[in-house]
Symmetry: C3
Subunit: 316 residues, 3 copies
């Protein structure tokens, strides 16, 4: 595996899931594989779960890890080809990525969208340039449009918890939030579920449609009640508008997930990628109750990252 | 050992001291013990000695270490049960602690008091919630009211330097400072000395009494001269008022420790946890002279942390 | 080797170069040497290449690495002897360096000049005090006046790329920049080239002479065209004025290095320490073309650091 930025980079999805579940049982079995190999983790935005789980995954494989918080350093990268750099950017991504590629065998990078200009964000310029110029395998730690390590962890969690003998119904439901939030987790979850053996239903208020490239094939409705009927899994997540790009269009009154709403489901397990705004996106009663899978999702982040890193190490 | 937050968490104090001194002689003897175990260090406040010494202690035991500077990330944690999180906090401590507990075998956490509301600080809400929700052993790297790794290092230093054949007289003396400083180090030192085989005398200006729960059993006086008589160890430390909570009540003129004052003592060794305000708390002549133990205290921080981590690893 | 702050600290320069090139071929051969040894990296200023390459070098030697970003912590160090510390500095360098020396076997430190007061900067007070008080070997990660790990990497790169059978002509040319930049890299490069088997020519606009202690022995001219004649290597770098200390005296129109200028050279290889302001210091066409050595320089940073650390470890 040369890059891991989307489900499109995975050639055998079921194989990767089984690999990750195998690593969960045998986390230190491949500790020789990463010996004398270095993972560089570059953060242009804050991170808690991704940082810790990816670091742990690498250590489980015997790798060294070096962390760079470029956001904290004020190390502003230029991305425009041909720029005359007499302004505020201190280094061109060409040079920074190429230099980092000299010190790292694999690079993980996190770079959120700015939510100002949709085309710019959806071009994934920074991620693509890192791939081009670093010349080493790149793992997305969440980019402008996707969060593929989260999605793999989500799929592991669903695989471990799905009802026997049926194709599970998975509902991705929009939830309220007070801030303008990227579409990444929702895009990515939809994209992965569409490749998995599940029935995907997406529900959100008017104006919150995700881009077709991620959702095509899923059932989409603005009627949350209807969507939740007989669901086996409910994935709760806020996102800002894709159409009216980056905007918060509604306070989302009535969209918070509660135990009352769970009554309509098939005693659905409830998922969220965290961090969660309690009692805004999801009620305390769900998060602290028996239907919540949020901690299992967090735990599976380690094995998702480990499976991806293992595949990359194997092709070196 | 499931938590290390106070001397109350130590069931055999003399045993722990001996263990630490044994590790000082044999720092790498137990390097297999921490193999494939991860220590997470979470800082909500700056740290130099604690960060480096605890990291080194863990590496001596073969552990992996992951550091999170939550203060630098602006990752504000909610601590109120049932909060509707539509404000500035981005994650509830319940979820953050539980997630971190998935990635770490032991967690160390530093969280200073705000010095605004005494009851809130002395409830140690953040530390207690971390213990409850992370589900892994917790080491305090200095909390709102105590600094137990410092106190163990202090006790090691006293043990190594005490005069033969007598119970040493240990004086904790208040010293001036220009800022409002927590009571943690003083509280903790008093609490530990009261459990050790020493005679403890505490001296401070009017209005600077520490809470009884830490000092009960010690002699307390506002007469520094009297307190210093025949002292074998003088522990110098500033703290803000406990009574008039968090306030600086005096410029402390005359309370700085000097060689002249040492004349009254039994050629006492002088201790301070560092960082020290030179020529405000303690004179250069003492810090640069033969009576200072401050660097031995700093060095012993490693073995204090290592003994605590070793005990935790042994019960896993 | 007890300290590495300048070429003066190297007793056999050719030997060190050969050692580094040997390590480049055998990076993990001495992995036992650094076992149970700890490198502390202290940054008072931002760093990308130095941080990653030095960390990697230490890991190649089996060392543990602890990183401290003192600039981010607001941990202001006092350097004045005898200071009454009732101001903004929180710890005297005496105590901070001595404490860090307890936890680290080798310390690397980066501290840029303030460019306000030449004498102060050129006294290298902070670096010298670290050497005095930490009591462990000190590696400069770029100080107020020199950048010796960069210079060793530069010399490695020249050694690998020099034309056979002749003493290469190396030209250090000043280039424009929009900010006031330290003289460190230029000072250091001149100092090293003067010790190496090359012909050194330095060219810069009026007012940009470097201090004699670094350049003595080299040819210096303000005529860039003349300097570039038959050059084998062109090292491009901006620096602020040493004479009119820290000032930017000209916009440097016409001093940017371009392919047109390379016509005058012996098809010279072009070097820069990075980060580079593209199309201000150096044109895209050079950086993206076949004459650029900038990535080889970045790569050689690892082996420069590894050779220095190896020498220090061997004398412990």
């Amino acid at each position: 595996m040369k890059k891991y930025t989307s489900v499109q980079d995975v050639d055998n999805l079921e194989g990767l899931v089984q690999e990750a579940l195998h690593l969960k049982e045998n986390p230190y079995k491949y500790k020789k594989l990463g010996e004398n190999k270095t993972l560089g983790l570059i953060f242009l935005n804050p991170s808690l779960r991704t940082r810790l789980s990816t670091q742990k995954a690498a250590q489980n494989l015997g790798m060294n890890v070096m962390v760079m918080n470029l956001d904290k350093e004020g190390w502003a990268l230029e991305t425009k080809e041909g720029a005359i750099m007499n302004g505020t950017t201190v280094e061109h991504i060409k040079d920074a990525a190429a230099a980092m590629g000299q010190y790292c065998d694999i690079i993980g990078i996190r770079s959120f969208p700015k939510l100002q200009n949709r085309e710019e964000d959806y071009n994934e310029e920074l991620l693509q340039q890192f791939i081009t110029y670093s010349k080493v395998p790149i793992v997305s730690l969440e980019s402008a449009t996707r969060h593929p390590l989260q999605s793999l962890a989500d799929l592991l969690t669903i695989t471990e918890n799905k009802p026997a003998g049926k194709k599970p119904k998975v509902v991705l439901t929009w939830a309220p939030h007070i801030k303008s939030i990227p579409q990444c987790v929702a895009n990515s979850f939809a994209e992965w579920m569409n490749q998995a053996d599940v029935e995907l239903v997406i529900t959100h208020p008017e104006g919150y449609s995700l881009a077709d490239e991620f959702t095509a094939g899923a059932t989409v409705t603005t009627n949350q009640d209807e969507a939740l009927q007989d669901a086996d899994f409910v994935y709760v997540k806020n996102w800002s508008s894709y159409e009216d790009y980056g905007k918060v269009l509604t306070d989302g009154n009535g969209w918070m997930m509660t135990n009352e709403k769970l009554q309509k489901t098939n005693n659905a397990k409830v998922m969220h990628c965290l961090p969660v705004r309690r009692n805004v996106e999801l009620s305390d009663e769900i998060l602290d109750g028996p239907n919540s899978l949020v901690l299992e999702q967090a735990n599976n982040r380690t094995y998702a990252a480990q499976a991806v890193l293992k595949r990359m190490l194997e092709t070196m």
